[in-house]
Symmetry: C2
Subunit: 366 residues, 2 copies
């Protein structure tokens, strides 16, 4: 194998495929980056079996070949080389010579035979969606996936297309996040994508108005983002029937400035450091939300003006759950709906009907 490419391009390729490489792996080859020569580019690949990322880097190919090279060391070296042309050529004794200006590295490489292929998806229908739109969908939902492995299906985000509407839904037993977008698709779909995959996809997405393409087979999902392919295992099993657990009724509805509420909750939660729950209390009455919290160190009272419709309610929450939600929402004013101090609250945008968040309250000892 022998090729030449620009340092800048190679660094970008390395950074992309490294998102699939976990570091220590029982299979040595998975700690490496797979490199194969193409016509006018090299194909780079990183994989942890569940998630594989493949990308192309423009190169002049002098001799065909393929190798696997230690991801961390290779990445560190290439990043520190001068911003110039880099030449890579395999030598005797399973080494590769990396040359750039006055630098020469000789690294051991691994046999590429054992490196896993990219799972085949087949010629299914492809869903097109704008990169920035999809990134926002991920950001708006993936924070709510379950972190513990007791119910694996909840560690993923539901990707559901019904009648040209894409719903993405995550829930962890304490809160639920759902966001929807119109989609030009003729097929209905319902799959569960691992939260980890979406977080890596999100890092590769640009904030450009360009299309990415999504396709599936029974076990895998393929994202095609410009020069890059990301293939991930899907989670197996049925997602929770989320529609049946979101209440549609309420006894109190109020409108509030999102940033103002978030800042007040954040301050109040400074006081709420007993254990990990960060408990804060809300009293909604007389067109204001009174947020309070007590601990052995003192107490806090925050007042936020709201415009309310319905009965006064006293309710307590884990501050983090509210903050996570308020942070990813995008409208200046939001609407919160409640029924009682022991029923879930619904949070949604005041103008666009494109998201729904549900947060369970904490029952107060009386």
């Amino acid at each position: 194998m022998h090729f030449r490419c620009q340092k800048r391009d190679l660094v970008e390729g390395i950074s992309t495929v490294q998102k699939a490489i976990l570091g220590k792996s029982p299979m040595a080859v998975l700690e490496g980056i797979y490199i194969e020569t193409g016509d006018q580019e090299i194909i780079m690949r990183g994989s942890d079996i569940d998630l594989s990322i493949e990308t192309l880097v423009a190169s002049s190919i002098m001799e065909e070949g393929r190798i696997v090279i230690d991801s961390k060391l290779f990445g560190d070296i290439i990043r520190k080389l001068p911003d110039a042309m880099i030449e890579l050529a395999t030598m005797e004794n399973n080494t590769i010579l990396i040359s750039c200006e006055n630098s020469e590295f000789n690294l051991l490489y691994l046999n590429a035979e054992e490196f896993p292929m990219l799972p085949e998806i087949g010629n299914r229908e492809k869903i097109a969606i704008k990169e920035d739109t999809f990134r926002n969908l991920i950001r708006s939902t993936s924070f709510a996936v379950a972190q513990d492995e007791s119910r694996p299906i909840l560690m993923g985000v539901l990707f559901e297309v019904k009648n040209k509407v894409l719903n993405m839904v995550a829930l962890d037993g304490f809160r639920l996040a759902m966001r929807s977008e119109y989609l030009e698709s003729n097929e209905d779909v319902s799959v569960v994508i691992p939260g980890k995959t979406l977080n890596e996809v999100s890092k590769i997405l640009s904030d450009k108005d360009e299309d990415l393409f999504i396709s599936f087979n029974d076990n895998h999902i393929l994202f095609e983002i410009q020069n890059t392919k990301i293939v991930s295992r899907l989670l197996s099993g049925n997602f929770i029937k989320y529609e049946s657990i979101i209440p549609t009724d309420y006894k109190l509805q109020f409108k509030v400035k999102r940033a103002h509420l978030a800042q007040s909750i954040e301050r109040a939660s400074l006081m709420a450091k007993d254990g990990s729950s960060r408990l804060i209390k809300l009293n909604i009455e007389n067109d204001r939300a009174l947020i309070t919290s007590n601990s052995q160190f003192g107490k806090v009272k925050e007042e936020v003006p709201v415009s309310m419709d319905g009965d006064a309610i006293e309710i307590a929450f884990n501050a983090n759950y509210l903050l996570d939600t308020l942070k990813v929402m995008d409208e200046e004013e939001i609407i919160i709906e409640m029924t009682s101090g022991v029923s879930p609250a619904i949070i949604r945008n005041s103008i666009t009907d494109n998201c729904k968040y549900m947060v369970l309250p904490v029952r107060l000892a009386r």
Copy 2:
């Protein structure tokens, strides 16, 4: 106690005095910030006994008093308040009420009686030095103080004034850093300042061309930086006679571009990961420095042009020691002097004679 001040000013004061507060302390009061009302300002103080920092914050005083308040909680709260006027007033049950717009915090405070006073320095002569100059002196030397406590005096930087020249010197048994500045002072001085103190002083110094003032008594040093006073214990004992260990003779002198050499050493050291020593080898001959390193993963060769005068030398170093030095130097071209593969190397600026760095080589097994 009752006063009002701007959030912005209070945050600045808190950040300044927190530099002396270590967090957990066997004396609860030292986990707190001391606040005392003055005429048109409050006096804030943080201390870990060895190091105390006092600063003033412009305030309207309504009622005199003094308290100690938990540093971390108080800092977190004030930083998150809106950028507006904050009012603080002591209430019953040893609590203080902090109000700002629609936020109210009630915090427990501690008795201020037990908080240590700032050590008195007395009316000694004060040495004036520009803030940016002193910051640069610290940066150029303090990295070389010893990290282990086996010889406590080496955990400090020598501050020596002789014939209107200030020499600051640090050494740890493997390398030495020395930098000098002209100083308008009539008194000769020789004290050893803890490296930790200088690092905190450095964070408080601005990059402005303003004077700071330094004075001493037998056990303490006082830095006066605008509204802030920093008092630190001095290290007791005699510093090593550094002049006698710096060689003045050499057999090889070469001039080299500092950035080029640093980048090459940094790349070469990527390969040198056996243990913590990061060993690299230098061959200086035929007007070039050949930098090499080997490990189980491969090898590297870097070539840096130099202009040399004297005999060719082969020598090995811990890459980190060279990099630490090259990073803090400021001239584009530097001069390195060597005598043999087992003698210390001297590194200095090529134009200004204001610094001297010494690095011990690593003996190569033959």
